[in-house]
Symmetry: C3
Subunit: 372 residues, 3 copies
């Protein structure tokens, strides 16, 4: 009775291969100097029945000869709730801002903007639930709330964390101007009950943390706070709404992290913030070029020995990144990208201020439709 007949239905299967050669390393980045692999992805998805859709995305990340398997997505989503409602549950990418709910492999640049790497660990996915509502209006309007476990956004060594740490509310508006122009605006408010760092804990943990940061590894967010705001705006132009040959995408986001410390001492920063402005032009079906500028404005606590006593020293600084990329697309499934990045880092002691990356991103199998 143990070997049994099966009903053959197949989920959609896709593999994303991402390899690179890079000259240099950036702070909080996921790619190292030399040859390497980005996130290799194996995704399976499909309808579970007429009411539920399911998706599993497994990511294999390799760093320093270690191979780590991560579950980036393991969720179900309702397909047929009435009145514009839908529910998603399990593990999924938070619908924060413009970039966070998109997969890394659809990015136009080699790495996420520095503010994403600093506040969201590159892309923030977690275990939880989402309720989303799309208004029955001509202008696109959606509202959503999410609740998450929140461990990857938790402050280091947070004592006695809430088991549901993160609540997130967002809204997005969008529409068209004539046939060639379209736009989208988004607002996000994230409450992180376990996000306030403690100076006392910070002191103890500083050393190892520093090492991780300098080695460029990136598990979870580097900066945390109780409140994270996000504003995003996207503008797209395509001649007569035809995205086949050429089009332009301009996007910008601003993120602000507040309520950083449990203590209320003088000299502590009130907030960290960051933003980026990205512009990508699809010249023709085979070529695209992009320019992105991003900033992070934050402060790091360093322990210093001063006359025999250990003192916590808060040093604020900026990271400024300019990325220029040119990409060749042989088909929708194959991209080769060359990127030049100029980095001005006052915060992490990056040793490289000029980075050149040559990357391929290619996909096998099923391929989902693109998001806005």
């Amino acid at each position: 009775t143990s070997v049994s007949a099966v009903e053959v239905t197949l989920p959609a299967i896709s593999v994303v291969l991402d390899g690179y050669y890079q000259d240099g390393e950036r702070a909080l980045g996921s790619r190292e100097d030399g040859f390497g692999l980005g996130e290799t992805e194996l995704a399976l998805s499909g309808s579970i029945d007429d009411l539920f859709y399911g998706k599993l995305t497994t990511v294999i990340a390799t760093q320093d000869s270690d191979t780590e398997v991560e579950l980036e997505e393991a969720f179900i989503q309702t397909l047929a709730l009435p009145a514009g409602f839908s529910v998603r549950a399990g593990r999924f990418l938070a619908d924060f801002g413009y970039l966070n709910n998109q997969h890394l492999h659809s990015d136009a640049f080699v790495e996420r903007p520095v503010v994403y790497r600093a506040f969201l660990g590159g892309h923030y996915f977690d275990d939880g639930v989402r309720l989303n509502w799309v208004a029955p209006t001509d202008t696109y309007w959606t509202l959503g709330i999410e609740a998450f476990d929140g461990e990857s956004l938790q402050a280091d060594e947070f004592e006695d964390p809430d088991s549901v740490g993160v609540y997130h509310a967002y809204t997005k508006f969008g529409g068209d101007i004539g046939t060639s122009h379209s736009w989208q605006l988004g607002l996000s408010y994230l409450h992180n009950a376990n996000g306030e760092a403690s100076l006392e804990e910070h002191e103890e943990e500083e050393h190892e943390h520093d090492e991780d940061e300098e080695s460029g590894h990136n598990h979870g967010a580097t900066f945390s706070g109780e409140t994270l705001y996000g504003v995003d705006a996207v503008y797209k132009w395509a001649p007569n709404g035809n995205y086949k040959n050429n089009y332009l995408t301009v996007s910008a986001e601003y993120l602000q992290l507040e309520d950083l410390y449990q203590e209320d001492e003088a000299g502590l920063p009130d907030d960290h913030s960051g933003w980026y402005l990205s512009s990508v032009y699809q010249v023709n079906p085979n070529w695209s070029v992009g320019l992105r500028y991003g900033e992070l404005d934050a402060a790091m606590a360093h322990e210093e020995e001063h006359e025999g006593e250990h003192e916590l020293h808060i040093e604020s600084g900026k990271v400024k990144e300019t990325d220029f990329m040119v990409a060749w697309h042989h088909s929708h499934f194959s991209t080769i990208r060359l990127q030049y990045s100029d980095i001005d880092d006052e915060l992490f002691d990056s040793k490289d201020d000029q980075i050149i990356s040559l990357q391929f991103i290619m996909a096998l199998g099923a391929h989902g439709a693109h998001q806005f």
Copy 2:
């Protein structure tokens, strides 16, 4: 010559998604307080040729932000041996008792009974070989023997373990009474050459072990012994043998663990034991309800400081669990379950004695037939 033509045949592929919100945590359980994922499963199976069937089941478990990939099954099984014989080799679930050779995602309750979590690590799979024989009789009768590596059932810090640690013999009988009633009885005897704990080793290892137990983590069995007996009985009722609309399943198992210690001192317990009685009623195709009561009767060694000397102190106690669940099934592939558990724990210092779990279990792709 390196890229080569392939003959396209496809194994059956299935994905199981399991997510939950839980209020509370139970001893030796696999689910934590708050949002989380159960075992996310990716299975591939099919005929290798006319003589062999093969199956690979990969399980991705996440606990405390760690992602662990486990191989739960990687076995071949003969399809065409004569005289009712079959052989299975590789890694597979031991055919111990009623529940152990079933996959977690087909369970009617959120967690395995406490006696399974304590003696078998929830479900015991291992590398080895099985020989099974089904008698050519009207009444279902099967006999089997299995040999396993046995490492996950090994006593902590067992010195110089046998490389083939576990031998297991089992038999099952089953039949029908009229058209609406059916039954199955099973007996299991498991010999674990590396299962006897040593008090000396125990003393050294107690501290870290305790921590693991209290955190609810569950790798391998918590209690071990040289001998494990199991008796199981299942009764099913379905009107005229039609399981489509409503049916009842009543199952019970009793497990006893003996030859616990290498030492023969006074005050040491002779055995640990546990049992459960489970009753699940499928009200109609969309709803089922279940009630399960289970006990574990065991003893834990604690080291205590007494007048400057460390003394090993054996404290016996019971864990009593009552689980009530109601499940909604939109189709064979989608289940949402609400469970309330009442726990009376004298053994592990569980802080929660009432646990509420809300769980979804959904499957994408191929779906094997159900076992008895």
Copy 3:
């Protein structure tokens, strides 16, 4: 907009199951005493578009109850470059010698020859790029160069390694003699910028290293040097070129590792070397037999305490392995192999000099064509 229609195309999917029972353990081997699993493989491959082919090979290795997922391949390869050129990029098996670019599961013996285990970690795969050229000649002639990250071939604790550590150039010639005979010759030259060991570092690291070696674990190469040469020769005989019923394969390789130490002291060995000669005869479609003899001639540094001072002591020795196997193939997808190995080890203190292995290797799904 997040759940979207997909275009259903399917990569070829294959699963390889490898399980064994072994009596004994060999130095640098991947199989342990008792029951166990070899490398369980899940591979997905296919055309990305008309210009690129892609392949992902995930390997799940289990040792000592740990499960490790490794990415063995994650590469793209050009399909349509002119003039006999092709490029491969990402992670792939180096085309070194005869065996290295073949998958373990297509081997005729249970383990790779000892010289492969010692110099290449069994099989050397890495992140990098390959340029290959096939000459437009009647006699098969190919030339290739590869550049790799090189971390798995790095000397232990190498200070400040080059980010592109390994360069490899190779050439292969092949042809037929009449209708029944064919041959191939290969030459490989590998430059490893991070391969020279340092005696000072060696001293510090010796203890833990020793333990790893003795436990038989095998991550990366055990011996490293700045230069690795390889020569390989293969001869095949099949009556009238028909490989369906019976054929003979004789293959041999010689590897030499040079420039071993950064220091230039007297008493240090100039090189390590090793070779094997293998002969496999396919008696009929269902049975094959094979005999292989292999040697490793190397030296290990041991720290010794001598009159209160720690002294590094270089001890050279040979490992001689004779393997005899007989395999039963029910189909192209199912093999069961029995192997007897006789080992004469002066180098690693192996406790077993006679090893018997019983192994199954079976494949589900797509199956690539065999290489020469």
